[in-house]
């Protein structure tokens, strides 16, 4: 017998293929990242990938699960890439290793592995690192071609592995605070938004360079939407809600609150909208639930960004909303066929 029960046919679109396509969709953003900030990000992505695969294999072995099919599902690799993209490329090499190992071992496998983690593993990694190593988590690269000191690839690699910079170059010269962080600090110094945004690290939309990376993630996200790997509900509700909230604050007081477009292209907004929120395992399953989840995440992102202590709010917003997923799913179950109106 070739098969024992119906249906005997299926559409070949495996978990592994889906994950791979999501990784492909990250490539425009990564390419622009390399273009504007140099290839250091590729090093941390490689480190994260190797860590993820090693820890995944080890955890599968400890849990007596088949190793090959799960290593091939690409889910650990995707998590690794998202972690690498979320943390500063100039952070010491062990930071990305610790974060990735924590994500795979604790946030994924201790909860039961693929399909069972209530929290987004990449965001858990970010949260653990920002709480445990706040200083190292500020080592963001300054964009290239801004007239300051620059590191070539070998110098970046050397610094990542040994922590030593070439003579005459200080860390402050090659790293910088993120646009969101700069905005927050400058606002505390009572500068108006319009004045702050004239500083060289800001570009035409948000941060110089980083806005283009965000644009790359947007393009990749649109590809995921077009190929129906993800549904529109999460990204549209997230970006829409963030736009409305930021817009309301901006309209009320433009000297203290940046524009909604700034919030779209600053920080992790685009990466989050298309690649983080859309993790199917840790987000709601119903359409209405997805809208609520994304709107809640947008509100929390904005509140943490603008009024909180952390430079970006994406990770905590997602994790807080992850907690609500079972509740959201339970209360948004759609009506089924034949039961939409009161039966007569």
């Amino acid at each position: 017998m070739s098969a024992f029960f119906s249906p005997f046919i299926s559409k070949s679109d495996s978990v592994s293929a889906i994950m791979l396509r999501v990784m492909l969709a990250l490539i425009p953003g990564i390419a622009l990242y390399v273009w504007y900030f140099g290839p250091a990000i590729l090093v941390s992505m490689t480190l994260a990938s190797l860590t993820a695969l090693t820890v995944e294999a080890a955890m599968l072995k400890i849990r007596h699960r088949p190793i090959a099919p799960f290593l091939k599902d690409n889910s650990a690799l995707l998590t690794a890439w998202l972690i690498a993209l979320s943390i500063p490329p100039l952070a010491p090499w062990w930071l990305v290793v610790v974060g990735t190992a924590f994500a795979i071992a604790i946030a994924k496998h201790l909860y039961g592995g693929l399909g069972n983690n209530p929290f987004n593993p990449a965001m858990i990694a970010y949260a653990v690192l920002i709480v445990s190593f706040p200083v190292q988590m500020t080592h963001w690269l300054a964009p290239l071609n801004m007239g300051g000191a620059e590191l070539n690839f070998m110098q970046q690699l050397h610094y990542l592995l040994t922590g030593a910079l070439p003579d005459g170059i200080k860390l402050d010269a090659v790293s910088m605070a993120t646009p969101l962080d700069t905005l927050k600090t400058q606002l505390h110094l009572a500068h108006p938004v319009s004045e702050i945004l004239t500083q060289p690290i800001f570009g035409s939309l948000a941060g110089h360079g980083s806005e283009m990376v965000a644009l790359g993630f947007l393009i990749g996200g649109l590809y995921l939407l077009a190929t129906r790997i993800i549904s529109w509900h999460l990204p549209v509700a997230y970006l829409g809600s963030l736009f409305l909230i930021a817009g309301a604050f901006h309209l009320a007081d433009p000297t203290h609150y940046a524009t909604p477009v700034f919030h779209w292209f600053a920080g992790a907004t685009m990466l989050g909208a298309f690649f983080i929120l859309t993790d199917p395992v840790s987000s709601p399953t119903t359409h209405k639930g997805k809208l609520i989840f994304a709107a809640g995440a947008a509100l929390l992102t904005y509140l943490i960004r603008v009024f909180g202590a952390f430079p970006d709010g994406m990770a905590f917003a997602v994790l807080l909303m992850n907690i609500c997923v079972p509740l959201i799913d339970a209360y948004t179950r759609p009506k089924i066929f034949g039961n939409k109106e009161q039966q007569s």
Binding site: M1, S2, A3, F4, F5, S6, P7, F8, I9, S10, K11, D13, S14, V15, A17, I18, P66, P69, F70, D73, S75, G113, L114, G115, N116, S231, P280, V281, S283, T285, T286, D329, R333, P334, K335, I336, F337, G338, N339, K340, Q343
Partner: protein
């Protein structure tokens, strides 16, 4: 142009229909033997009327419909009954069932047939003719057609004729519509008459332009209010509920009859059989079967009921790597236990299967909650949740999430990126729930019997005491009032007869109590099931019995 409605979800599997529509319907040569099961329909098995050695004519009644839901069984050709006994049949349970083996004499000689002019008959008479002609739903449900033609509480406005044929590979309805459209239309007219329906809507998926054209030509001669409607090709658009939704916009919920909403639905082949049964007095002894898949000449054959599946496969030229066959389509079909089983009334298609044609699914990965299943579910369920509950054996939750609204169309399994056999999980959960309920009912009955016995013992004790007291009293009265013997007698009689009345009332009360308990014990989700669903329950229980049998044999084996 009629406004069409949409149903949620659906999939577009490769149709593979053109392979079997290249040649007209052919007639299969007379098989060497026919194995005719007495149970080919939903409901009660037909009562055998023949014995081994009997000579029968084509169309002769050999199985009498039992009371209630049942249908007649006929000899498919003339010949001799060589055996009556249990044989493996094409059924989900894989269990043997009572069959008559018929050795054809090659003459194919018909029994005397008579025409019934329905216009001069009553609907009741027409239904009786159909019942005795063994006409059942040929779309696969095999529900007795006469019962579906009864007018219930609600008037029928729309008669839907299902020519959608949404399952891949199957083309028997397509070919029937191309070649015998007039008979289908005439059958539909008879049904409209019996149901006093206003309009006839015939839905055909738009990937069958030839059938649509043939049916349109055939309707020209017909009266008004009959429409041929091309519906979008979308699996499972040929499901009765989905087609009714597309054509009328009405959604028939699970556990509700479509007739309560003024709609009745029949398959095109059923319409044609109804016409043949009345016009020519022909009982249902043959049907059109698509033979396709791993064969040289995929085609449609007119096949006598009871023909071994192997005859069809060899006629169509099954390729050497054929290792099994499927009855029905690749989405909802039934894997056949072997090629000896015979064509039954439900057999619309036989697909020769090979490991290359239908490769085994890769090992299932965990569910990642991607909800592709929910996107395609025509019943608008949350398959990912149902899977979770079925896997955890949380059957209460599964029922709460409308497990029984699942029509097992397989769309969820088809799109699942983790290759989880979702439908199997739902079938498992359904059969477990039904099994538990029947066990619960059995234990309830046992408990009630026990309680009643306790109660009866107690009651008898009391009655004995009362009787004794009455006797003593009577004796004392007799003693004391010896002089008034004649007068005292009736009083004693009355004293004895009173407790008897009392006892009867108590028994009555206990029975009432037991009845109420039985009613209260009924599960909420299986209340008011339609006969089709009851039949599904029976099917699943049979399947489950087989699984238990297999399990028992596994356990028993090492002991030997």
């Amino acid at each position: 142009m009629k406004t069409l409605h949409k149903f949620h979800g659906g999939i577009h599997p490769p149709t593979h229909k053109t392979e079997s529509t290249r040649t007209p319907i052919a007639r299969l040569p007379m098989p060497a033997k026919l194995v005719i099961p007495f149970h080919q329909h939903v409901g009660n098995i037909a009562k055998p009327l023949v014995q081994v050695g009997d000579y029968v004519l084509k169309g002769q009644l050999i199985g009498l419909p039992e009371d209630g839901i049942s249908s007649a069984i006929h000899a498919s050709t003339s010949g001799t009954i060589s055996e009556i006994g249990m044989q493996v049949v094409a059924h989900a349970s894989g269990l043997p069932d009572l069959c008559a083996t018929l050795i054809p004499d090659g003459k194919d000689e018909w029994i005397a047939r008579e025409t019934t002019d329905y216009r001069s008959a009553t609907p009741e008479q027409v239904r009786k003719v159909l019942r005795m002609a063994g006409v059942v739903g040929l779309g696969g449900a095999v529900f007795p057609s006469d019962l579906k033609l009864r007018i219930g509480k609600h008037a029928i406005k729309t008669l839907v004729i299902n020519g959608a044929e949404c399952e891949p590979y199957i083309t028997c309805d397509d070919m029937l519509m191309r070649e015998r459209a007039e008979e289908i239309i005439k059958g539909a007219e008879i049904m409209r008459w019996a149901l006093a329906a206003e309009e006839i809507l015939i839905g055909i998926e738009d990937n069958k332009p030839e059938a649509i054209l043939a049916m349109q030509i055939a309707t020209r001669a017909s009266s008004d209010n009959i429409q041929i409607i091309a519906v979008p090709t979308l699996y499972p658009g040929g499901g009765a509920k989905q087609l009714i939704r597309v054509l009328t916009g009405i959604e028939v919920a699970a556990g509700v009859r479509s007739t309560d909403k003024g709609v009745q639905c029949f398959n095109v082949a059923t319409a044609q059989s109804i016409y043949r049964a009345l016009q020519f007095g022909e009982p249902l002894v043959a049907r059109i079967v698509t033979v396709t898949g791993n064969v040289k000449n995929a085609q449609n054959l007119e096949v006598l009921i009871g023909t071994p599946v192997g005859d069809l496969l060899s006629f169509a030229g099954a390729l050497p790597d054929t290792d099994s066959s499927i009855m029905g389509g690749p989405m909802m079909g039934l894997p056949l236990p072997n090629s000896e089983v015979s064509i039954v009334k439900a057999a619309n298609c036989i697909i020769a299967s090979s490991p290359k044609l239908f490769p085994a699914a890769p090992p299932a990965m965990p569910c990642i909650r991607c909800t592709r299943c929910a996107e395609v579910c025509p019943a608008e369920l949350q398959p990912q949740d149902l899977y979770w509950f079925a896997k955890a054996k949380d059957f209460g939750k599964a029922q709460e999430f409308n497990l029984f609204d699942c029509i097992e169309c397989g769309a969820c399994s088809y799109v699942c990126p983790s290759s989880i056999p979702l439908v199997q999980y739902y079938r498992f959960a359904k059969s477990e729930i039904w099994a538990r309920e029947s066990e619960k009912n059995a234990s309830d009955a046992a408990r009630e019997r026990f309680e009643f016995r306790e109660y009866r013992t107690e009651r008898e004790k009391i009655e004995k005491a009362e009787k004794l007291a009455a006797k003593e009293k009577a004796a004392a009265a007799a003693k004391v009032e010896a002089a008034k013997t004649a007068a005292a007698q009736p009083i004693a009689n009355a004293a004895v007869s009173a407790p008897q009345d009392d006892a009867q009332a108590k028994i009555q009360a206990a029975i009432e109590h037991a009845k109420q308990q039985a009613a209260a014990a009924k599960p909420k989700n299986t209340e008011q099931l339609t006969p089709q669903q009851q039949a599904t329950i029976a099917d699943i229980e049979a399947r489950r019995a087989r699984i238990q049998e297999l399990a028992a044999s596994d356990v028993a084996a090492p002991k030997e």
